[in-house]
């Protein structure tokens, strides 16, 4: 295993017109870490994630993702990462398997390999029977699961999950966490999670609290609780806001 950090951000910021979505983020995520970016809606979590995924360009600062600069080496960054967005990325007119085939081609996966991986993942997420169903006919939770399968298909070394459990039923939620656990233990995948659910950040190695585009706190869940004098992360989150 190389010691290249998964993410190293320095003064990273993004403005949308007059709105300062992300102020100046300093962040280090080691390879293999389970990292959570925790904060209320509109705190800048998704903006940070879109910056790391090279979807938008920073207004200031810089960041290396898997050792590659997010501005100058966008393609190299995108080769190493997988992403599950908050909003769906599936084509509603296509079937589940057609969507996965499309994603596999974009990631340049050989057809047969993609097909066998897709079937295994669909099986695991309870979607095997829906493989030829058009996405428009799926329930909200099934759609979300299919999107997660899409994100896992290319077996990325760094996986970004933007509010992944929103809209998932308890069963799919547990499957997701089990899959993530397996990816981490078996393949050493770095997982970067954004969430506003405090309990989802509890099992993480490191948690960053984001509030109004600023980093409010950073540390292991235990450290954060100790510093805030709280027994729960919920208390930490509430303590960051006066």
């Amino acid at each position: 295993m190389t010691a290249t950090p998964a993410i190293a951000a320095r003064g990273l910021g993004k403005d949308f017109g007059p709105v300062r979505a992300l102020d100046a983020l300093d962040l280090d995520v080691s390879a293999g870490e389970f990292f959570a970016l925790l904060g209320p809606n509109g705190a800048g979590k998704t903006t940070a994630l879109h910056l790391f995924a090279t979807l938008v360009h920073p207004s200031r600062g810089s960041a290396l993702v898997m050792g590659h600069d997010i501005v100058r080496e966008g393609l190299a960054v995108r080769r190493g990462i997988g992403l599950v967005f908050q909003e769906p990325t599936l084509d509603r007119d296509l079937t589940v398997v057609e969507n996965l085939r499309f994603a596999a081609r974009l990631w340049d996966l050989p057809g047969r390999l993609a097909e066998s991986r897709a079937l295994e993942l669909l099986e695991r997420f309870g979607l095997a029977a829906e493989r030829d169903t058009p996405v428009r006919a799926l329930s909200g939770g099934q759609r979300r699961s299919a999107d997660i399968v899409r994100g896992l298909l290319a077996e990325p070394r760094l996986l970004f999950l933007d509010e992944p459990t929103a809209g998932l039923d308890p069963h799919a939620r547990r499957t997701l966490w089990e899959s993530i656990h397996r990816l981490r233990t078996e393949r050493g995948v770095t997982v970067f999670l954004t969430t506003h659910y405090v309990e989802e950040a509890e099992p993480c190695d490191q948690v960053a609290l984001l509030d109004q585009g600023r980093l409010a706190a950073l540390g292991t869940p235990a450290e954060l609780k100790r510093r805030a004098g709280s027994t729960t992360l919920e208390g930490v989150l509430l303590a960051t806001r006066p």
Binding site: G42, H57, L75, P88, L90, L94, A103, R105, L106, D162
Partner: protein
């Protein structure tokens, strides 16, 4: 190559699955032929040597290209496509490949529809082009699909959303159609309108189609009006320049306002 193939294949599957879009795109030129053709045939100055419906056949194929390729590329800004766009932008492919894939996808749709319509339309109006004519007309369809598809994508990359579709129809699509020579020869237009036809890629495509299908009437002024090499060059330049432009716009976060979402 695999990502490019994937992008094009998705466009084709989608199109074939949307039955309404499929049938309306195939029926539209025949509705025009029937309704516009019937009325204009009576007042067409050249009717003694050339039936108006024959004259408008190349233009109608140009119209199929315009609706098939240009609008397909422009629809990249439509909300329902935002999710897939987001996926394209985080996929491990160059921005140029995203642009090229989108342009090729639009061009395949435009070309496929126009060839299919042409197969019925050309014999239906009594045109009998030779092999060379068919080849010229088919190149006109293919090149015009690439050029208008690229223009549509470049335009899409400058737009935040397709809020006012009728504005686009009124100020882009219909002027492109009317100033293409599809419905009347452009040589009779006022000078300032003729200038506009020179910056309209569809005009070169329709001109190539006329070279291919209306060659016997070229001397009476109803065939192609520009040299064939000029048509080919203009369409190729438009296709390349607009694809490069779209690539640069996408690299500068064009299209991401729709794909980016909030938060």
């Amino acid at each position: 190559m695999r990502p490019l193939y994937g992008i094009v294949a998705r466009e084709v599957i989608r199109f074939l699955r949307q039955r309404g879009r499929l049938w309306s795109s195939l029926a539209r030129p025949f509705v025009w032929l029937l309704l516009a053709g019937a009325g204009f045939a009576a007042v067409f100055a050249g009717s003694r040597e050339l039936d108006y419906r024959r004259f408008m056949a190349p233009g109608l194929l140009g119209m199929v290209v315009l609706f098939g390729a240009f609008l397909a590329a422009l629809s990249t800004v439509v909300d329902r496509d935002a999710g897939v766009l987001r996926l394209l932008l985080v996929a491990p492919i160059e921005r140029g490949a995203v642009a090229l894939g989108k342009v090729l996808g639009a061009a395949v749709l435009g070309t496929g529809q126009a060839l299919l319509v042409g197969l019925i339309l050309v014999p239906a109006v009594g045109l009998r082009p030779g092999a060379g004519g068919v080849l010229l007309a088919a190149s006109g369809i293919g090149l015009a699909s690439l050029a208008t598809g690229a223009l549509g994508l470049a335009l899409a990359a400058t737009m935040r959303s397709l809020e006012n579709f009728s504005t686009v129809m009124n100020f882009v699509v219909f002027p492109m159609l009317f100033l293409s020579g599809a419905l009347y020869p452009v040589q009779h237009l006022a000078r300032w309108l003729r200038v506009l036809t020179y910056v309209n890629p569809l005009a070169y495509g329709v001109d190539l189609l006329k070279h291919g299908l209306l060659a016997p009437w070229a001397r009476s002024g109803y065939g192609g009006e520009l040299p064939v090499p000029l048509d080919v060059a203009a369409l190729s330049v438009c296709a390349i320049v607009c694809t490069v432009l779209a690539t640069l716009l996408i690299a500068r976060e064009g299209l991401t306002s729709r794909a980016g979402g909030t938060g």
